[in-house]
Amino acid sequence: MTRNNRLAAAAVGAVVVAAAIAATVVACQATGDPTPGASTSPTATASASPSPSPTTPDPEAQAVKDAEYAVRNYYEVTGVMLQDPENFNFEDAKKVAISSSLVDVQNAYGMYLNDEMHDIGTVAIDSIELKNVDLTDKPKAKPPVVPVVEFLVCLDSSDVNTVDKTGKSLNAPGQDPRSLIRAGVANYEYPDGPWLVAYTTLEEGKKC
């Protein structure tokens, strides 16, 4: 095969691959199934398809991705807060939490400031498991219905030492450092608004 022939063959191959991706995206969008691997023939749709952008994400997949990022961001920002509450700008908390979770953050912030406590170290996210996705969006309903992604988050507090102003540890002895949290991430201005952690609750009696 000549050099030109090899290039031509490669170009045909690229078109076929692109067409296959486009067909898969179309199939996923039509069925709502985020799993790739639809059986549509790539050659059959290559010329007829309107060729949606292969980068257009599935809404649910995108929501899960953004919501998981929000969960990680929530624990990162609250970790910064608990380590140095005196210098924490509470406006930063409003960028990662809303509703019940923002209340939680405010209570922790107040408790740490009031008792002059701080953490040494931060909680680690051991795992995040998707539990549920519901993108139903009825912002004008009373109460409003907003898109929510729920995760089960395994937190590991092994490296966290909560201390008072003298440096004395306040960690309650005998506690399991790992806890399983159900975290709901909501988007009150879907699809353009931010995903914010709206509630976190302990899955009592469950270990991770």
Partner: protein
């Protein structure tokens, strides 16, 4: 602390015993009082004890595990329990949670979409010499809790200010206003707050309550403006530095002035206070200024020498 809570209880319990929400119903972890619940990590920490005027880790009063209505009776403000965060256990209903939590949030206790989620706000603690952050709790109620208008928080803030008995600074100045004490033109004058205290320089924190509502205010002097009586004024950020013989003819490192003409001058020190208050779901700032005066005499060196 305990006595105050008991006094509050005597007022509040008749209104809320029948409808006291269980503390932290959405997070069933129970931290043995006075240990504190960390709402981020969902773990308990050992209480550090009384963190200030409103600190402490007392068991939430009225925590009878009843319905989470959070409402009060018809004769008083809607009271509620904030939860065991080690401070400010009692609170008042300050309205609907905005935004309303998603239906999956356990705070709905399975009632979604019936009723609504309301906000309960406690009294901020005082730690590290400043007003803390008010504790909050969201709770479900089938109907709006009965909440007559609370008192104007600024009125309570002014009551708290009255308790502070704020005063102008006691003027310290060299040359001082005393027989035979005369300063010299061109030589440094030192100004400072003599015996600075909580009620002359701050910070000072007091609370005032009415009808079960509490507002806490903290007052601090931002600056002292000295009117030197010769047409000039000097602004000093702190209390100034008292003159000592070792300073000799050196100007004050923090708060001073040099007269360029002789005469008898009335010197006025005006302290500008900022009073930050917080309570009943609101915050605010009240500026104040307090002044006192003295007189000093400045002469030319050759005149004094004669």
């Amino acid at each position: 602390m305990l006595r105050r809570i008991l006094v509050v209880l005597m007022v509040v319990l008749p209104l809320q015993l029948a409808a006291a929400p269980a503390a932290m119903a959405d997070d069933p972890v129970t931290c043995t009082p006075p240990n504190q619940f960390n709402p981020i990590t969902k773990r308990c920490t050992i209480s550090v004890g009384d963190g200030g005027e409103n600190g402490g880790g007392d068991t939430p009063p009225g925590d009878t595990g009843g319905e989470n209505s959070g409402g009060g009776g018809s004769n008083g403000p809607a009271r509620c329990e904030v939860g065991n965060y080690g401070y400010g256990d009692l609170g008042v209903v300050t309205g609907l949670a905005d935004p309303q939590p998603p239906g999956n949030d356990p705070v709905w206790e399975g009632h979604y979409p019936d009723g609504a989620i309301y906000k309960c706000e406690g009294t901020p603690g005082v730690g590290g010499g400043r007003i803390g952050v008010p504790p909050l709790r969201l709770f479900w109620a089938a109907t709006p809790p009965n909440a007559p208008p609370p008192p104007d928080p600024e009125d309570l803030a002014r009551e708290a200010i009255a308790q502070m008995q704020l005063s102008p600074i006691q003027i310290g100045i060299v040359p001082e206003d005393a027989p035979g004490r005369i300063g010299v033109v061109g030589m440094p004058t030192y100004m400072w707050a003599e015996n600075p205290g909580q009620n002359t320089i701050g910070p000072i924190t007091r609370s005032a309550s009415a009808g079960g509502f509490t507002v806490t205010a903290t007052a601090t002097v931002d600056r002292i403006v000295w009117d030197m009586g010769d047409g000039s004024s000097v602004t000093c950020e702190g209390p100034g530095t008292p003159y000592e013989d070792r300073f000799g003819r050196e100007p004050s490192p923090t708060c001073g002035h040099t007269y360029t003409s002789q005469g008898r001058f009335t010197v006025t020190a005006r302290s500008y206070w900022t009073v930050a208050w917080q309570g009943i779901g609101e915050t605010g700032v009240i500026p104040l200024d307090l002044a006192d005066s003295t007189q000093i005499t400045i002469g030319e060196a050759q005149v004094i020498g004669q």
